[in-house]
């Protein structure tokens, strides 16, 4: 494995202080929201049997998310809450959607796995592994034609590395010089399958290069490292050089919230939890004097209050009336 040449960490210089704090704030917001969603799920308050939390992966969401700009486009996989929060999700409407309620982002029609909001550049979370990838290339096509300077980012898991559309899509992005970034949220597993059991080779970075991309990998538990490499890569992408970023992280919970993850060892879980990205950044900022304990407590309180508010909002929201089953199948309904 050609790890050395690609790990971006060593070179990166710290971002400005307010960004360092913003990265922590974003991660905390994701962590608290996801924990609250998980707890609500266990209490039967969310819609549906499936719930995929991104706890443990906050540095990837926040690092890339904050390196993006207003107007940038993105899609996510089924584990996309954190990414959307990093891109400015309204927590009330997000929570209401996860609860399956009328005031959710999608009126409860889509649910956790399909959250989208084109106003914030979110082209949709996708429940078909890999299907969002060419869709993001389409976003890049639009960006190039209509809004130069905008970048289109596809976030997906390590499982999607085995979907052929990824390779088709990287080729097209490179062939057409599209402003597209392919970001792998590598949490080591696709359901119960460790990446090594799904892929015969781990030379993904080199592989992306053979498709004409600029490719890097990064420690996905270090939010500043992710931010630095993402900034650099997204700048190249904006210029029409598509990029690939493999960010190595971990999901602290199972595939679904209730999955006890029997396919991985407690030691492994513990080792990764010791590298908790939120905690790492908190300690780093406290030690650097870039954040006070009080300011941190305040930040945590705000995150929790936002969650309280979101849960209250979601709880109060009614379900969409059943008559609305037939709305929004088509834009031009009358034609039917």
């Amino acid at each position: 494995m050609r790890v050395e040449g690609h790990i971006a960490m060593p070179q990166h210089t710290s971002p400005p202080p307010e960004t360092r704090v913003a990265l922590l704030r974003t991660m905390l917001r994701i962590r608290e929201t996801e924990e609250r969603i998980g707890a609500s799920h266990l209490r039967g308050l969310t819609a549906g049997s499936m719930l995929h939390l991104s706890i443990g992966e906050e540095a990837i969401a926040a690092g890339v998310g904050l390196a993006m700009r207003d107007g940038d486009l993105f899609t996510t996989h089924h584990r996309g809450h954190g990414i959307f929060i990093a891109r400015g999700a309204d927590l009330d409407r997000m929570m209401a959607e996860v609860f399956g309620k009328r005031d959710g982002y999608l009126q409860g029609k889509g649910g956790s796995m399909h959250i989208a909001d084109i106003a914030l550049g979110h082209m949709g979370a996708n429940a078909i592994v890999g299907a969002n990838i060419p869709i993001s290339v389409g976003g890049g096509l639009s960006a190039k034609a209509l809004t130069p300077g905008v970048v289109s980012v596809a976030f997906f898991g390590d499982g999607a590395l085995q979907q052929g559309v990824l390779y088709e899509s990287m080729n097209m992005a490179a062939l057409w010089h599209l402003p597209v970034a392919f970001v792998v949220v590598n949490n080591q597993y696709g359901m119960g399958t460790r990446l090594e059991r799904a892929s015969a080779s781990l030379r993904f970075v080199e592989r992306a290069e053979t498709f004409g991309l600029v490719a890097r990998e990064v420690d996905g538990m270090d939010v500043e490292a992710v931010y630095a490499v993402a900034q650099n890569l997204l700048e190249q992408a904006r210029g029409g050089q598509p990029v690939f970023l493999m960010a190595h992280g971990y999901r602290f919970y199972g595939h679904g919230r209730k999955d006890p993850s029997p396919y991985r060892s407690k030691e492994e879980e513990q080792a990764w939890r010791l590298r908790d990205p939120v905690e790492q950044q908190r300690v780093r900022l406290l030690e650097a004097g870039a954040l006070s304990e009080d300011a941190y407590e305040q930040m945590l309180r705000e995150a929790r209050e936002a969650c309280d508010k979101a849960v209250a909002f979601a709880t109060a929201s009614p379900e969409l009336p059943v008559e609305d089953l037939y709305t929004d199948v088509y834009v031009e309904q009358e034609a039917n």
């Binding site: 889509g110 989208a116 082209m123 060419p134 289109s152 088709e168 199948v329 834009v331 031009e332």
Partner: protein, 331 residues
């Protein structure tokens, strides 16, 4: 009115809409330099340049995905799938993505994409290049489905498809590209969901679409010699479906034949037949008859290929089977 072939009428619509709206782009395999596998897009690359007439690699699933993404974000892509037989490669992007985003997002996203493709028999191209797979599409809520039979409809319906904010699957027929017909001088979008009475008649209604309209018209001509007045309804769009036109015709004639090139089982012909029973069953003077593609893969050998899809003879026989005409039905 100018007379031109179906393929030129399609090209005209593409040209007009690309001129009218800069957001319209055409993409697909061989659409540019080659001019399209069936020469539909000849000249468009020169007219609009490679940023708007985009030759793609052979990567169908992703090409349609790119179309979906582009449509979500401001472009109005017309994506060409060279053969409808390749639908199996792209049904996820068509059925799970294009069709569903509007609904799944509670109206927050729209996918104004046209998937242009062509199907049907006529070139002995074998089982993987001769299919009629519109039934898969008609089954999926969220997709408009258009299958023009004439040059005028090809042009007018493609115009509407490109202007539609919903995803449209637009299926041409490989055996119609050279068919000539009159096409209006002005771009007149033809509204979806309005069937066309291809021939008026009072004895029996033949409900059909695409190439089978011409088979039905020939059968109608043959029946005229026997004094039977056949009405031929060209549906033009299968979603939305002009149920009013179907029931009005069947209520008038009391007899209905459904003709479709697609395999018979679990198909467009099943749906059309059952809709007639449901909405005009009381007016029927004979059972509805289906004349459809046989439930076999399309063979390559020419005689077998012809036998696999409806012929004029079979339509005539079905009409006779409803009790009309001088000949009696054999079965």
């Amino acid at each position: 009115m100018a007379t031109m072939p179906y393929r030129d009428a399609l090209r005209l619509a593409l040209h007009e809409e690309m001129t009218r709206d800069e957001r319209v782009v055409l993409m697909g395999e061989e659409v540019g330099l080659y001019g399209g596998a069936y020469a539909v897009s000849k000249g468009l690359l020169d007219a609009f340049g490679p940023e708007r007439v985009i030759d793609t690699p052979i990567s169908e699933a992703s090409i349609v995905g790119v179309g979906v993404g582009a449509a979500l974000t401001g472009l109005r892509p017309v994506v060409e799938l060279m053969y409808v037989d390749f639908l199996g490669l792209v049904m996820d992007q068509v059925g799970n993505q294009a069709a569903k985003w509007r609904y799944m997002s509670g109206g927050r996203l729209t996918v104004p994409m046209v998937l242009r493709t062509q199907g049907g028999t006529g070139r002995s191209a074998g089982a993987q290049h001769s299919q009629s797979l519109e039934s898969w599409i008609m089954h999926v809520p969220g997709l408009r489905l258009v299958m023009p039979a004439t040059p005028a409809d090809a042009r007018g319906l493609l115009t509407t498809a490109i202007r539609s904010d919903d995803p449209v699957v637009f299926i041409e027929h490989k055996a119609l590209y050279a068919l000539k017909g009159e096409v209006p001088d002005e771009a007149e979008p033809i509204p979806f969901g309005r069937a066309r009475v291809a021939r008026e008649g009072s004895d029996v209604s033949v409900i059909t679409y695409s190439r089978m309209v011409h088979v039905a018209l020939e059968a109608a001509e043959r029946m005229r010699e026997q004094g039977v007045a056949v009405e031929v309804i060209d549906l033009r769009t299968l979603n939305p479906l002009d149920l009013d036109a179907i029931t009005a015709s069947v209520r008038k004639t009391g007899r209905a034949i459904v003709v479709s090139e697609a395999h018979k089982t679990c198909s467009v012909s099943s749906e059309l037949a059952v809709l007639i029973y449901e909405h005009a069953g009381d007016a029927l003077r004979a059972p509805v008859r289906r004349v459809a593609g046989k439930d076999v893969p399309i063979p390559s050998a020419p005689a077998l290929e012809r036998a696999a899809v409806p012929s004029v003879d079979e339509v005539v026989e079905a009409i006779v089977g409803t009790g009309l005409g001088k000949e009696r039905a054999h079965a």
